[in-house]
């Protein structure tokens, strides 16, 4: 294969999957072997990381933790229906340009000088009138982590555009010329699978499927993300959430929900998870009335360990 020199120092966080997992752990993100290996490969191969999985399995948190580990700026692009290049890439600040033009005209009139058209035009398309949107910012910032969140919400045209940017790590602005990333950003794309993302885009990426963590890991996550949570409470919350995921709920709780639940329980002063405390704070875990109703009925069974 190609013999590029490996950029990472021999003992840096990106020298091996295990070292990266350890570095991620210090930021409070507990990565298992799969996640650490995927992130390691994304860094080493310079490929975007495409994360799919249930809501609340830590897709966005992974990007945040990676940015922290790499000492890079996290630049987030939230996708939505109808997002286009002027929201993702760059836009010209037209009102300011027009004001600038008027100011030039006024100045010319005062001094009775003739305006040099090409000079005026050049001054209108200076970088100071350029509004850099997330993708352009990521290309200009090094090092950076570009998080393209919920790419499944954008439409096909945007995917095609994204593919182009992720292949070249460069964009061309007609008035200014090409902007090429000195150091390509680490790109993390997330998708909730509301729609199948085009295969061409996935082919450019490393594909990472994230599952809910097992109980032991969830307890660890609770400890690292909710400082001061009592051992007993963390274990009970993890066990209860795990059981809830096994029952047929409209929206099974993710890790984000179990963290919220633990925080809510601590705020109401619960030292352990009993029926009263659980009933009072259930809104932190279950977001559908049907789910809450059904769970309240079987709360004793849920909490029996």
């Amino acid at each position: 294969m190609d013999d590029r020199p490996q950029a990472a120092p021999p003992d840096g966080p990106s020298s091996s999957p295990a070292a990266l997992a350890e570095a991620l752990r210090t930021t409070g993100y507990l990565a298992d072997t799969g996640v650490a290996t995927a992130a390691f490969l994304a860094i080493q191969m310079g490929r975007p990381l495409f994360c799919e999985g249930e809501p609340g399995t830590g897709k966005t948190a992974l990007a945040q933790a990676l940015a922290q580990v790499l000492g890079a700026e996290l630049i987030r692009l939230q996708c939505h229906d109808g997002i286009d290049a002027s929201q993702a890439l760059y836009d010209w600040d037209f009102p300011r340009q027009l004001l600038h033009l008027r100011a030039l005209e006024a100045a010319a009139e005062a001094t009775r000088e003739r305006m040099d058209v090409s000079a005026v035009e050049a001054s209108l398309y200076e970088p100071r009138f350029l509004l850099a949107r997330p993708i352009l910012r990521a290309l200009q910032t090094a090092p950076s982590v570009l998080l393209v969140d919920e790419v499944d919400r954008a439409d096909d045209e945007f995917e095609a555009f994204l593919l182009e940017v992720l292949t070249e790590y460069a964009v061309s602005i007609p008035e200014l010329g090409e902007v090429r990333a000195a150091e390509p950003p680490l790109v993390v794309l997330t998708s909730n699978r509301t729609r199948e993302v085009h295969d061409a885009l996935k082919r450019r990426c490393l594909y990472l499927w994230l599952d809910h963590p097992d109980i032991a890991r969830e307890i660890e996550i609770l400890h690292s993300r909710v400082p001061g949570v009592p051992d007993r409470l963390a274990a009970q919350v993890a066990a209860a959430v795990h059981k809830l995921r096994g029952t047929e709920l409209l929206k099974p709780p993710g890790v984000a929900e179990s963290l919220d639940w633990a925080r809510a329980l601590m705020l109401v002063g619960a030292k352990q998870l009993d029926v009263d405390a659980a009933a009072a704070t259930l809104g932190a875990v279950l977001k559908y009335r049907e789910d809450a109703d059904r769970t309240l009925k079987g709360l004793d069974a849920l909490l029996a360990s």
Binding site: M1, D2, P17, T33, G34, T37, A38, F40, L41, Q44, M45, R47, E52, H80, D81, G82, I83, D84, S86, D91, W92, F94, P95, Q97, L98, L101, R102, E105, E121, L124, D152, R153, D155, D156, E157, N192, R193, T194, R195, E196, D199, K202, R203, L206, Y207, L208, W209, E248, L250, K251
Partner: protein
């Protein structure tokens, strides 16, 4: 790759790794050459002698869908487990898929009768397409069925539309400051005309749920062909699932251009062909796994089923309620609904009826055309 050149070819890791990707391709994963080279680069960045690392390298570069993962695991085990004998991978034995040409009431017709029917068949074909359009799909002769397939293939469904948040330059609509000012630049800052923009129109999502249980068998072939035509027309905005005892997504299979190949692939993918119906559970599986996440949101959802529910109709009712809250329009197509004397009394239909926007007939080509009209106007 640090491969000593004196290694015989069969021990060269590259050969073995590339061979593995060929096996995966055989297992139905979308392996392209750039994926293979990404795989090799990933292995190179990791440790080729470590089985686990090779596993992860392949999983990240060669899979693209959670459905790929179990197949990948199986193929990986088969290929990289130290073998006794050649590197032959046992193909997963699958039950023989039924032939899709099962519009024929299977096995009920003795061969002699078929020969007698030859005469009327030809007359029926000659009697014109208009009659055939209204003919019940379950009661066709062989020649009629062939003719009908062609007619289905000629359908030109108009996908439903919705207005997008993305705006396009237009003659009327709201003012577009960006374009107006850009135009003003050309005239030294003089605004001569307001440029305008308007919301563009995009295809609306369409979800077809086709019941392939035993009671729907006579209609299944025609309905899947119909689904194929619809998918081909709007491949990115249409999803097709079959429902029976399980939920099967066949959108990928139906995206192929050729109808016969697409239907062949689809019938292979459907494990519960001509089985029972557990509408409630399967609709719940759909809403849980796909609908709620977005496939059914603001979509037109069409269910093809006769509504014979073996399971709990209360469950079906609750799931239909959920679905109706997600969907833009919920349409139920019942092949029996167009027949004289039909009343919606089947357990499933009764439970679903309060949440439906339309209950349509679906026993003939004419009724399917009407369905297309309802869908495109939705």
């Amino acid at each position: 790759m640090s491969t000593p050149s004196e290694l015989p070819a069969e021990l060269d890791p590259v050969t073995s790794l590339v061979g593995f990707t060929a096996v995966l391709r055989g297992a139905g994963l979308a392996i392209t050459s750039d994926r293979v080279s990404a795989f090799l680069r990933a292995v190179d960045a990791l440790d080729v002698t470590d089985r686990k690392q090779t596993y992860w390298a392949g999983r990240f570069t060669l899979c693209a869908d959670p459905e790929d993962l179990p197949r990948y695991d199986l193929a990986f085990d088969a290929w990289f487990t130290p073998h006794q004998g050649g590197g032959v991978v046992q193909r997963q034995r699958q039950p023989q898929p039924p032939k899709l040409a099962s519009l024929l009431p299977s096995g009920r017709e003795p061969a002699g009768e078929q020969a007698e029917e030859e005469g009327p068949q030809l007359r029926a074909a000659a009697s014109g397409t208009e009659v055939l359009r209204h003919h019940d799909l379950a009661e066709l002769t062989i020649a009629e069925r062939e003719h009908l397939r062609q007619m289905i293939a000629l359908l030109r469904p108009e996908p439903p539309r919705r207005s997008s948040r993305r705006r396009r330059p237009a003659r009327r609509g709201e003012a577009d400051p960006g374009r107006t000012l850009r135009a003003a630049m050309r005239t030294h800052g003089e605004v001569r005309e307001l440029s305008r923009r308007h919301r563009s129109v995009r295809p609306r999502k369409l979800v077809l749920l086709v019941d392939v249980s035993g009671s729907m068998e006579p209609y299944a072939d025609a309905l899947l062909r119909f689904a194929h035509v619809v998918v081909r027309r709007a491949p990115t905005s249409t999803e097709v699932f079959t429902i029976g005892t399980r939920l099967t997504r066949i959108t990928r299979e139906l995206r192929q251009r050729d109808a016969e190949r697409a239907l062949g692939a689809a019938s292979k993918a459907i494990p519960d062909w001509s089985g029972g119906t557990r509408l409630g559970e399967v609709v719940r599986a759909f809403v849980d796994r796909w609908g709620q996440r977005g496939a059914a949101r603001r979509a037109v959802v069409v269910i093809f089923s006769d509504g014979w529910e073996r399971g709990d109709t209360q469950l079906l009712g609750a799931q239909m309620e959920r679905l109706s809250r997600l969907a833009h329009r919920l349409v139920w197509v019942n092949p029996h609904a167009g027949k004289t004397g039909y009343a919606p009394v089947q357990g499933g239909i009764v439970a679903a009826l309060p949440f439906l926007d339309d209950l349509l007939a679906g026993h003939s080509l004419a009724t399917l055309e009407r369905l297309l009209k309802v869908v495109s106007d939705a």
